[in-house]
């Protein structure tokens, strides 16, 4: 049940990213054309749309990166350190990841509330739209980390 939900949720994020990337390409193209082709107006909104879109791509992509364990990490610990050390390191790993996730959710939400009452300079867009990406990423990490943790416990039980 939870697994299916996670799978669907991840797919939704992936589709969103593909749409945002397409938007990014179009907005920057318009921006360049606006400078060189006389009949295309120099839209001011493109600069802001590009920035917002990039921020959303980064945070959504960083969320998927957690599920797929693709964030850069360094393998210092040798392979056979003994079960005790291995278990301790995994428990500490998840504790730390959940702590930083909590920080991003809590302060991200307050950050969003702060942005909600502000408007951007160029187009008067509500900054909440931009800052919402932080708590959304936080909640996504929470879901994906939980799913990874369940998976890891299951695999360790088997072996």
């Amino acid at each position: 049940m939870f697994e299916t939900f996670i799978r669907i949720y991840k797919r939704i994020l992936e589709i969103l990213i593909m749409i945002l990337m397409t938007g990014l390409l179009i907005a920057v193209t318009l921006q360049i054309l606006g400078r060189y082709v006389p009949f295309i107006p120099r839209y001011i909104w493109t600069v802001e749309v590009v920035n917002i879109t990039l921020i959303w791509v980064i945070f959504l992509g960083a969320a998927i990166g957690v599920k797929e364990s693709r964030h850069f990490f360094v393998d210092f610990l040798p392979k056979n350190v003994g079960r005790g050390i291995e278990m301790t390191s995994r428990v500490l790993y998840y504790t730390l990841m959940f702590i930083i996730t909590g920080v991003f959710i809590y302060y991200g939400y307050r950050f969003f509330l702060m942005g909600y009452v502000q408007e951007s300079q160029a187009t008067g867009l509500n900054l909440g739209v931009v800052y919402l990406s932080v708590p959304v990423a936080g909640v996504s990490w929470l879901l994906f980390l939980t799913s990874n943790l369940i998976q890891e416990i299951r695999e360790r039980r088997h072996s």
Binding site: E14, I17, M18, L20, M21, T22, L24, L25, V28, T29, Q31, I32, V50, N51, L54, I55, V57, I58, F59, L60, G61, A62, I64, G65, E68, R70, H71, F72, F73, V74, D75, F76, L77, S89, L92, Y93, L96, M97, I99, I100, V103, Y107, G108, R110, F111, M114, V130, Y131, V134
Partner: protein
């Protein structure tokens, strides 16, 4: 809180978290947390603000675009065309296919900004071909991995963009500064290949065939036009580096979809997704690094480090050599982007106070970190190439060592003679100096 104490906490925690296999980007944010609670003057929300500000830098946008262009060019079979062309121009040298490997890496480096795309794309075609012609597997792996390092040295380069984004160095000037050092590294590798070929009797690939050069040149000329668009566009002031990255994407789509018909429209969304995934984990690390770097600066830690390492500041060359050794060591166990993200802000004030030109520092930094791509235990290009050849990367170490040796000689020349890197940007972008 004293700068020394703050530095011990921030750096000590960072190392511990990284050892626990917490991703580098998350470790950077976590290591800052205790400081935020001890130092009530810095509100945590401000850190998120910092992160957003760092993403406001327009240049970072070129990271996904250059990656996308490389993915599309690889998928569109551009690599094959470049290989045919390289065969026609260096195939007659002893150890022909190894020279082809180096030359193609050089040409592909001018199109793509990442070394791993280079190692995977070229390796999957040339490694099987070289093994079939009785080249030693370890040598084959070494030449593929080591030549792919040029991907991040010859412009465009994702690593230079990240460097420029974090340390406010001009990316256009960085691109120009990387060109001569990159080509020097390629040529030094070809000299080594000749030496190997003579000793081990590696075969000549093809006879001199001027018609062949013309034919394969015509086939690949459009692809080889890409570096000219990027460099020419930037230097000529027609486009910014970010816009150049978009032009490269559009150009690669044009080649793949319309001119060569080697790419299908329905494959594009997958390339978009894969590119976004890789770009976003890199850029997320840039964001958390800007938090880490900002707290470092706020607590005046760079000044503390400068006063501690005072002894080396007298001689810029000596300091630069110390930095090179540090980067080479860090590069053995860390990927290049997180290493830039962690080490860049720490070492920049040192280099600055010793009077090293920011561009010189940047080029030396990017090159020495890129050597980390071929040094174990974590040398991504070496791992990719060994995987394709089906050997353990440890088996290739001796030959990799030989290549690394000549590459370090070139790097030392660049450290001692800043002009190698600085001449081209000084010539073409004099307003930057």
């Amino acid at each position: 809180m004293s700068a020394g104490l703050a530095f011990s906490i921030m750096f000590g925690l960072l190392v511990i978290f990284i050892i626990l296999r917490v991703p580098v980007s998350f470790s950077l944010a976590l290591a800052v947390l205790p400081i935020l609670f001890l130092e009530s003057r810095i509100p945590p929300i401000m850190m998120l603000q910092r992160m957003m500000t760092s993403y406001g830098s327009f240049i970072l946008l070129s990271v996904p675009f250059f990656l996308l262009a490389a993915n599309i060019m690889n998928a569109a079979g551009i690599t094959n065309r470049l290989i045919r062309f390289a065969k026609s121009i260096v195939g007659m040298l002893p150890g022909g296919l190894a020279h082809v490997n180096v030359i193609v890496s050089m040409l592909f480096a001018g199109i793509s900004g990442s070394s791993t795309a280079d190692a995977a794309g070229i390796g999957s075609i040339l490694i099987p071909a070289m093994i079939k012609e009785k080249y030693d597997k370890s040598f084959t792996v070494a030449v593929t991995a080591c030549s792919s390092v040029m991907g991040v040295i010859i412009p465009p380069s994702i690593n230079m963009i990240i460097w420029g984004g974090i340390l406010n160095t001009s990316v256009a000037a960085l691109f120009l500064a990387g060109l001569i050092p990159g080509v020097m590294i390629g040529l030094s590798q070809m000299l080594l290949v000749i030496f190997y070929a003579k000793r081990r009797g590696y075969p000549i690939e093809a006879k001199i065939d001027f018609k062949g050069i013309g034919r394969s040149g015509k086939e690949s000329v459009l692809a080889m036009f890409t570096p000219l668009i990027i460099i020419g566009g930037i230097v000529g002031g027609i486009v910014t580096p970010t816009e150049a990255s978009l032009v490269t994407v559009v150009y690669s789509l044009l080649l793949g979809l319309v001119i060569y018909h080697s790419l299908k429209l329905k494959e594009i969304p997958d390339h978009l997704l894969n590119t976004a995934k890789l770009a976003s984990i890199s850029l997320f690390a840039v964001g958390t690094s800007s938090i880490y770097g900002w707290v470092l600066a706020y607590l005046r830690i760079p000044g503390f480090l400068v006063s501690t390492l005072n002894f080396a500041l007298g001689s810029p060359t000596l300091l630069l050599f110390i930095i090179v050794i540090l980067f080479l060591l860090v590069g053995t166990f860390m990927d290049t982007i997180p290493a830039i993200v962690i080490m860049g802000p720490l070492l920049y004030p040192l280099a600055e106070s010793a009077g090293i030109h920011p561009l010189h520092f940047a080029i030396v930094g990017v090159i020495s970190l890129s050597f980390g791509l071929i040094t174990p235990p974590y040398g991504l290009c070496l791992l990719i190439a060994s995987d394709i050849a089906g050997i353990n990367s440890a088996e290739a170490l001796k030959d990799v060592g030989a290549f690394l040796f000549v590459m370090i000689i070139v790097l030392s020349l660049i450290v001692i003679f800043p002009g190698i890197a600085l001449w081209l940007p000084q010539l073409l972008l004099p307003q930057m100096f």
